[in-house]
């Protein structure tokens, strides 16, 4: 009865029938109370977005998998302390972190959000070393500014590591060996593929696959069905945990990988891992694996149903089950595009995976190790269907046990692949991740041109995916090249119109370009896609701000903040609005909030610098601009402001030096030249100033302030005719009303030479 119930639950989960799953699972737990079943129930709750329920039922449990699930529930409920104690109990200093890479990743996130950067970095690195395909960890490291080069992380050694993980689980428990059995794994190769011959997998004691939904957005997790242990062993549960919710502003949705497993004889375990609800809110992790064995018949049916495009997609399946105790390391494989079936032996069809969307998506599914033992087979099928799939797939170091006699075969994804192929498959994935990782790392370091070059090395099919195009757009944005950014982002929208990743930056680009039609259109689309995503509201706020309605814009940014308080950019934008409304105190608070979330958010440092500059607290202002410049050393705008501040602090030589740097950094930026001229003028080096301004005239011939300043200088030099000429031109270029008044007043005074400073003083 237990087995049947478990199977039903997992089946329901696979088909997203959460209510059914929860009901049946509660019956299961009532009938056979055990921790394993409790974990399954928690999984159901987490899938159904009821983290609080999972929290309550798992409170106090001690097994590793339970602790991991409990930590995920706490994290979703924002109870970071409890999550941390669950993962890493205080009294057990050397205790093992449940679920290996995933556990470390979750712990890293917790440390990051509680301001313990070093520990966070440490754990992300550990996670990556255990599972080199854990892209999300690498991404976090980049954001924290502590990522090593991608070639180091996603290196060939990593490929070997992955292979080892596969082979490693060939546990020596001989009794479970399937030597007697065939390892024919049902290939989940094609769903519809006929060649699936029922394979029996021997499971070592009890393969329970329980899927754990990692995705709080309802990723489907496959719950492993309790399998009848072949040998009558106890059912083990393997849980796969997946992804900790990334609070980052990813709205990516990971496509649910579907796993299929081979079917063990007699047990119907369906592993279908689907993850990925494409919910726009952050979640990028994909849940991985769950292993289940499915009935072959079921498999076909399911596959037929679930995958309309069967052949090509396939996530690697890791079938690690060879009956041996496989430890669970399941690598999550998700990657539609990335895994190009390399892992499948001979499944040519698999290789035809044509990634549809994708590529690097932040969510990834990975499979966590099941510490409990159990067999984990996971087969993931990436359902690339519209979902951005996470590109990185980590292989579950699932037990791909190639328990073959020759030892060279490895089970991956239900297909027996040879060890060599596994490595080559892994290498291909790593190669892709290397390029993407390098690009992302460089763009986090704001070396934008290099990042763009890195992304250009990607094959076209990967480049033309929404994540990559958004990143390209962001890079152009940082280079202050708004037209290119606009192009890149609009392409990204064409490719994936439902994706919200990076759309907040796109709205800022449109704001800078003053394209109010496009911006309002974008806002409408985003809001109708997802009313609960902070990016949509950021776009709307930018729209109002462009129309100078700062109060409404502020309200809207507040809404974005309430929707996701870990979205740093919303805080920064609120800060900008406060400054526009001249409410500096609240502005400072907002910027500081943004910095608390992400201390490398240079816009917030810049914002603070500007506030202090306005308030004439120049030392503070210098410090903050300096910090901003440290993070983003190529920004000519920040350099020019730093220069003006230095000049205000009377460090005029340094000021001029920085201005020159700024001029060199970006030739298209006219501001540093203008500021330099200003500085020179106040240093009374009129000729130099005039020289600079003459040059500037070439760059920006229609800028009234250039002529006004020149007029001012000529007036100081008592060259009244020239002054008059320039003031006249300045007036023709339609300056603002205040400036009109100032210039006209200056003209009047021309005829009354006046050494005392007049109303031409800076306001």
């Amino acid at each position: 009865m237990e087995a049947i119930l478990t199977d039903c639950v997992q089946n329901s989960l696979r088909h997203f029938m959460f209510k059914n799953a929860i009901f049946l699972c509660e019956r299961l737990c009532a009938e056979f109370p055990s921790e394993v079943n409790l974990q399954l129930l928690a999984a159901c709750y987490l899938q159904n977005n009821q983290a609080y329920s999972a929290y309550h039922i798992l409170k106090g449990t001690q097994t590793a998998q339970s602790r991991y699930l409990f930590a995920i529930s706490c994290f979703q409920m924002d109870l970071l302390n409890e999550a941390e104690t669950a993962l890493c109990p205080a009294n057990e200093a050397g205790g093992e972190i449940p679920n290996g890479a995933a556990g470390h990743y979750l712990l890293g996130l917790i440390y990051r959000y509680t301001d313990r950067k070093k520990s966070a970095i440490h754990h992300f690195r550990l996670a990556l070393s255990i599972n080199p395909l854990l892209w999300a960890a690498y991404e976090e490291l980049c954001v924290l500014g502590a990522a090593k080069e991608a070639t180091v992380v996603f290196s060939e050694a990593a490929a070997l590591c992955i292979q080892n993980q596969y082979l490693h689980h060939g546990l020596p428990s001989p009794n479970l060996h399937m030597s007697s059995e065939d390892y024919n794994l049902v290939s989940s190769r094609n769903f519809g593929s006929e060649d699936v011959s029922p394979r029996k997998l021997k499971h070592t004691q009890g393969n329970n696959l329980r899927g754990i939904p990692g995705n709080h957005h309802g990723a489907v997790v496959l719950s492993g069905a309790a399998s009848q242990p072949q040998n009558g062993g106890p059912s083990n549960m393997s849980f796969y945990n997946t992804p900790s919710p990334m609070a980052s502003q990813l709205s990516g949705v990971a496509p649910p990988p579907l796993c299929r497993n081979m079917q063990p004889n007699g047990s119907n375990l369906n592993t279908v891992n689907t993850d990925g609800s494409p919910r726009s809110i952050v979640n990028s992790t994909i849940q991985a694996p769950r292993r289940k064995f499915v009935d072959e018949g079921k498999l076909r049916k399911i596959s037929g149903r679930l995958f309309s495009d069967s052949g090509p997609r396939r996530s690697t399946r890791l079938t690690g089950d060879t009956g041996a105790n496989t430890n669970a390391n399941t690598a999550a494989v998700a990657g539609n595009g990335t895994n190009n079936s390399s892992k499948y032996l001979g499944s040519s069809k698999l290789s035809s995976v044509a990634p549809r969307t994708v590529t690097v998506r932040k969510g990834q599914s990975w499979v966590n190790e099941n510490i409990e033992e159990g067999i984990r087979n996971e087969a993931f099928d990436d359902s690339c269907a519209n979902v951005a799939s996470t590109t990185s797939s980590s292989f579950s170091s699932d037990n791909v046990r190639s328990l073959d006699h020759d030892g060279a075969t490895v089970l991956v994804g239900g297909v027996v692949v040879s060890g060599a192929k596994a490595v080559s498959g892994a290498s291909e994935v790593l190669c892709l991740l290397r390029t993407l990782g390098e690009g992302y790392r460089l763009s986090c370091l704001y070396r934008c041109q290099d990042a763009l070059d890195a992304y250009l090395r990607l094959p076209h099919r990967h480049y033309n995916t929404s994540w990559v195009l958004s990143q390209v757009g962001k890079a152009h944005f940082e280079l202050v090249d708004y037209l290119e950014a606009d192009l890149a982002f609009s392409l990204a929208r064409q490719v994936s119109p439902y994706s919200l990743e990076g759309m907040d930056i796109y709205s800022t680009v449109l704001y800078h370009l003053k394209e109010d039609m496009k911006l309002s259109y974008l806002t409408q689309e985003l809001i109708s896609t997802d009313r609960l995503a902070p990016q949509s509201w950021c776009a709307m706020g930018n729209c109002y701000s462009l129309q100078k309605d700062h109060e409404t814009a502020l309200k809207i940014f507040h809404r974005a903040v309430r929707l996701n308080s870990r979205f740093a950019y919303a805080h920064t934008l609120s800060g900008h609005e406060y400054v526009a409304l001249e409410d500096f105190e609240n502005g400072i608070k907002s910027y500081q909030n943004a910095l608390r979330i992400d201390s490398r958010h240079y816009n917030a440092w810049y914002g603070l610098g500007m506030i202090f500059f306005r308030q004439e607290r120049f030392e503070f202002s210098e410090h903050h601009f300096g910090m901003a410049l440290q993070i983003n050393p190529c920004s000519s705008v920040i350099m020019s402001y730093l220069g003006t501040t230095l000049h205000a602090l009377k460090k005029s030589e340094d000021a001029i030096k920085i201005m020159d740097r700024a001029i060199l950094a970006d030739r298209k930026n006219p501001l540093p030249m203008y500021q330099k001229a200003n500085i020179l003028m106040s240093l009374e080096k009129f000729d130099d100033a005039l020289e600079v301004l003459e040059e500037l005239k070439e760059y920006a011939p229609r800028e009234s302030s250039v002529y006004a300043l020149m007029g001012k200088i000529y007036k100081r030099r008592n060259m009244h005719e020239k002054a008059m000429l320039h003031f006249g031109i300045a007036l023709d270029l339609k300056p603002s009303a205040t400036d009109v008044a100032t210039i006209k007043a200056a003209i009047e005074k021309l005829h009354v030479p006046d050494e005392l400073e007049d109303n031409l003083s800076t306001e």
Partner: protein, 192 residues
């Protein structure tokens, strides 16, 4: 500055009013930063009705003329335009007919800067504070006082439905002598 009004300005007389409130983009409403007070009011029709963006309710005075609306700022501000909403058709004898605008540092040194006569105003009335000299585009002051000196048909008390005060937008870039006008400059002038 106010645009297309139906009024005729001759010797400070304004006839009629505007249906719509249209103000230049480079002006912004400054009233939120000020403390508003009135010389007298009837219960339920107090000073808040002047600032609530609702044209249905009005401030009604309750005392001797002149009726005063005082607008006090915490620091000196540049003001350019005052806009009032009045409706002769609804308010008849309560509608102001002569208005004087005074400015200064406080109650002790207010000086009149503008007087205007209204003839059956219905709608928004734009009163510009600028002088003829380009140097006098703005009035730089701590306090503004709007005095209703007399009403239509010799009414004693007055109704005013809304008052807005406008000044120039500050330079978005602080400590700059001039504001930027061209696209290249503006694009590069801030980080958002």
């Amino acid at each position: 500055m106010a645009t297309e009004s139906l009024e005729l300005e001759e010797e400070g007389k304004i006839i009629g009013g505007n249906q719509h409130l249209i103000v230049d983009d480079d002006l912004r409403e400054m009233g939120k930063k000020a403390a508003w007070s009135v010389s007298s009011c009837k219960t339920g029709n107090g000073v808040s009705s002047l600032r609530d963006d609702n044209l249905e309710n009005y401030w009604q005075s309750d005392g001797a003329q002149p009726h005063l609306v005082n607008i006090q700022f915490q620091k000196k501000v540049k003001l350019q335009l005052v806009v009032l909403y009045m409706d002769f058709k609804l308010d008849e004898s309560y509608t102001p007919s002569k208005i004087s605008i005074r400015a200064g540092d406080g109650f002790h040194n207010l000086k009149e800067i503008k007087t205007v006569e209204l003839v059956k105003p219905t709608g928004w009335i734009y009163l510009s504070l600028s002088g003829n000299d380009p140097r006098e585009t703005f009035v730089n002051t701590f306090m503004l006082q709007i005095a209703v000196l007399s009403n239509h048909l010799n009414g004693r008390d007055t109704h005013v439905r809304q008052i807005k005060v406008y000044g120039p937008r500050p330079n978005p870039i602080p400590h700059q002598p001039f504001q930027f006008t061209s696209r290249e400059f503006i694009t590069y002038s801030t980080v958002r």
